[in-house]
């Protein structure tokens, strides 16, 4: 069953066609990886899906709804969460506060109720806390709960970003180069977590990734892009042996 469909998706920046008419489907419950050389348009595809960029043409359908023109702040509530290639955390807040913001799309209280801190605000806050704690448990972050994110090492911050995305209770999670900057051990942990996110939480995963070991390890399907165009889709092995993919990476 398809959860996300991109149809002839395209965006131009001036004369540059960053994404040039790409069509792909992501099935519910799969781990779908986008690979390609630098500047191929992978992150641009993510920015189009999370509506930070407005597509020049084409259509995005998520879970039966057309989201091509949905305002970007509604995307999280609709069920798409994401992480960023270079960690985008709230640096001056604690881990806990960062994750609590992940629940923003599901807030139930109005600002005027919060000013008075009515009993229902407290009830809502407890519920938010409970959900966040589940994610903290899931990713083993208890140790850092009250630490200001700024002071944490890069590898931990990458995990926190995943945690924050999970706190939005998504149906689909977009991971932008989750393993960049991680050491071998952390990358191995990551591959377990990505599988757990799919298997235990039932969340579909779409990721952009350069580490081919990780890609082979976890992906169900791989899509290769270059110059904003799709070159191949299929199982990791098929795509890696595809002549056009080899050409894109090695030249010739």
């Amino acid at each position: 069953m398809t959860i996300l469909r991109a149809q002839d998706l395209a965006i131009n920046f001036g004369g540059i066609k960053a994404v040039d008419g790409i069509t792909f489907d992501v099935n519910k419950g799969e781990i779908f990886t986008i690979i390609g050389p630098n500047g191929a348009g992978k992150t641009t595809i993510f920015n189009l899906i999370s509506r930070i960029y407005q597509a020049t043409s084409g259509k995005l359908v998520f879970d039966g709804d057309d989201i091509t023109h949905m305002p970007p702040h509604r995307i999280a509530g609709r069920g798409i969460a994401r992480t960023f290639q270079n960690v985008e955390l709230f640096e001056h807040a604690t881990l806990l506060q960062n994750l609590l913001l992940g629940q923003h799309a599901h807030r139930k209280t109005r600002p005027w109720e919060e000013v008075l801190f009515l009993p229902r605000v407290r009830v809502a806050e407890r519920e938010i806390r409970r959900r966040v704690e589940e994610i903290i448990d899931f990713l083993d972050l208890q140790h850092y709960r009250d630490v200001v994110v700024q002071h944490l090492p890069y590898g931990v911050r990458k995990v926190i970003e995943v945690a924050r995305a999970l706190c939005t209770q998504p149906k689909l999670i977009l991971l932008d180069e989750p393993s960049s900057g991680l050491n071998v051990e952390e990358t191995e942990d990551l591959s377990f977590w990505i599988r757990d996110i799919r298997d235990d939480l039932g969340i579909t995963v779409v990721m952009v990734e350069h580490d081919l070991a990780l890609v082979n390890d976890v992906s169900d399907r791989v899509m290769a892009v270059n110059y904003g165009r799709l070159i191949a889709t299929g199982t990791p092995a098929d795509v890696q042996n595809h002549p056009d993919v080899i050409k894109a990476y090695l030249g010739g």
């Binding site: 960690v87 001056h92 992940g102």
Partner: protein, 358 residues
């Protein structure tokens, strides 16, 4: 050393994290309540000024310290609140509705400037708010029915539940009560989704948006809340000075407020209070210092703004978290005693800077 064992989520949700905080804040409350019975009316009046400055500082703290939007136009919001309040009070409106109207008028002005300003950030926003402040100052001079023009208007004493508050002590308690209520409201917002959304906008707009924060809505809300508080502070200020003229609400006042926030410590309520204490004390200290400085320096009329500038530069260079940062360090030192490590607060350079929404 204090170890806090967390066994319930409410411990993180409550106003006070532990019994020690309850004790110290109660002590502070008792002190503040009993101060007018001890000190002379002059100092009671100065303390009322301190509360008004704290309220104005709190207002800018919401906008600049928590939402990360710089305003050099807050004098305008203070002015709008002051004039509207003074006008209503002169026409027989009771104190509470009048000051609320002043606050809402300022909030409306905040929305008017805030909604176009949402597309701007940093320096551009600062300049836009400065321009707004200049326009507002001109309006204060011209709109004679409301403001009395450049001659100004007298402000009657506040009437509270039919009783006229004509002494410093009554006004002291009035200012204290309003300040405490406003701080409580803001602290409540900050421990709820709205406050977290503001902080998120300050630290990373793109991530906040991807987590479902409506950037425009929350920025406009921050402007409105901040202007509302400034308007309330303006209303109290009107009573305090007793006579309003447009030359009170100049950009210099806005810059002083910004300095209050920076020196006090960006991103903390304590910082607003510390900054206000600093700003109330500084002119007194400077006027005393003038007598001891060589005449060439001591008689300079520009000594005061010069010192303000110097202090701002020093704070940014040496202690970016301001007086609140200093306070936290002292508190930490005693809480860890004797295990304190001098490297604890060593500043680290972070090289991770990422693409931002422009």
């Amino acid at each position: 050393m204090r170890f806090i064992f967390k066994t319930r989520y409410d411990q993180d949700i409550n106003l006070f994290p532990h019994g020690g905080a309850v004790f110290w804040y109660s002590l502070l409350a008792v002190t503040l309540l009993s101060v007018p019975l001890i000190v002379t009316p002059f100092y009671v009046g100065e303390l009322s000024f301190l509360f008004i400055w704290s309220l104005a500082g709190l207002s800018l703290m919401v906008l600049t310290g928590y939402t990360g939007l710089i305003s050099i136009g807050h004098a305008a919001f203070l002015g709008i609140g002051a004039y509207v309040h003074a006008y209503l009070v002169r026409h027989g409106v009771p104190f509470i509705p009048a000051i609320l109207c002043g606050g809402f008028a300022a909030a409306a002005a905040g929305l008017v400037i805030g909604i176009p300003a949402i597309r701007m950030r940093g320096l551009y926003l600062a300049i836009a708010t400065l321009a707004f402040s200049a326009i507002a100052e001109e309006v204060f001079v011209r709109w004679e029915t409301l403001t009395g023009g450049s001659r100004g208007v007298p402000v009657p004493k506040p009437q509270f539940l039919g009783i006229e508050i004509d002494n410093e002590i009554g006004f002291y308690y009035l200012c204290l009560a309003i300040l405490v209520l406003c701080i409580l409201g803001i602290v409540n917002l900050l421990r709820a989704p709205t406050g977290r959304a503001w902080i998120a906008i300050r630290d990373s707009e793109i991530a906040a948006q991807s987590m479902g924060v409506n950037l425009a809505g929350y920025k406009a809300l921050a402007f409105a809340v901040s202007a509302f508080l400034a308007g309330i502070a303006g209303g109290l200020f009107a009573h305090k000075v007793g006579y309003l003229t447009p030359d009170i609400f100049t950009p210099i006042l806005s810059i002083q407020l910004l300095m209050l926030v920076m020196v006090g410590g960006v991103g903390s309520i304590h910082g607003a209070i510390f900054g206000a204490i600093f700003l109330v004390l500084l002119p007194t200290v400077i006027s005393i210092a003038r007598d001891y400085l060589p005449a060439a320096i001591g008689q300079q009329p520009a000594l005061e703004p010069g010192i303000y500038g110097l202090i701002l530069v020093l704070v940014v260079l040496l202690e970016p978290l301001g007086l609140n940062g200093l306070w936290l360090k002292i508190k930490f030192f005693f809480s860890q005693f004797p295990m304190y490590k001098s490297a604890t607060f060593k500043r680290q350079k972070t090289y991770m800077r990422t693409e931002r929404l422009q």
